[in-house]
């Protein structure tokens, strides 16, 4: 099974970049929110991300922005970001 890790760093207002990322997501892929994309963890935006795909967010970026309510998302460290790239066959960055 060929699996991609997608990273996204744009905020929810950038609907164009989000739509490209979602269009490119295959079943079995993983999604990592970094930088301004961690705002997708706000309750108002959470439903805009797919439910069938594991979603992660970088801890340092959540902390920087005062976001603490990401209950159903895996919050990861930099070393875990590296590990995610190992478990996938390629990384696709959306920015």
């Amino acid at each position: 099974m060929s699996r991609s890790l997608h990273t996204l760093n744009t905020p929810p207002s950038d609907t164009d970049t989000l739509s490209h990322c979602l269009m490119a997501l295959s079943e079995g892929d993983e999604l990592l929110l970094i930088e301004d994309a961690v705002y997708f963890t706000l309750p108002a935006h959470r439903h805009k991300l797919p439910s069938g795909v594991p979603i992660h967010a970088l801890a340092v970026d959540l902390q920087a922005r005062g976001l603490t309510n990401a209950t159903d998302i895996s919050i990861i460290s930099d070393p875990e970001f590296v590990n995610l790239t190992l478990h996938c066959n390629r990384v696709v960055s959306w920015f």
Binding site: S13, E35, Y39, H45, V60, D61, R65, G66
Partner: protein
């Protein structure tokens, strides 16, 4: 000479330097004794979320700079009401107690300005 300056920002904090660059202009306007208002549109309202801690990404805490605005008599802070609805936030939970503007009031605010500086 006193002019009315409106600084408009639509970027979230930390992903770019816009939020901080905005505050630097605002403080300078105040030093020159100009009237200055801030209009935070769209993602820029996220600059006013409390409990930010950007130590691990090695940036300055914007909340600290924001809390100094009152010392510079910068107290006209506006957000667009649509942005509050989009992000599911209310003005009361944001720092600096911004005033939410619907489009009519926002247009009125712009018409009252001498200089508009976007970031």
């Amino acid at each position: 000479m006193n002019k009315r300056f409106l600084l408009i920002c639509s970027r979230p904090p930390y992903g770019s330097s816009a939020a901080r660059d905005l505050l630097d202009i605002a403080l300078t306007c105040s030093v020159f004794e100009q009237s200055v208002s801030l209009l935070l549109m769209g993602d820029a309202i996220l600059q006013l979320l409390p409990e930010q801690n950007p130590t691990a990404i090695r940036q300055k805490n914007l909340n600290a700079i924001q809390s100094s605005l009152a010392l510079y008599d910068i107290e006209s802070i506006y957000v667009d009401a649509e942005a509050l609805r989009f992000h599911g936030l209310s003005a009361e939970t944001l720092l600096l107690k911004p005033q939410a503007l619907e489009p009519d009031a926002l247009q009125q605010l712009i018409r009252e300005q001498d200089v508009v500086l976007p970031l």
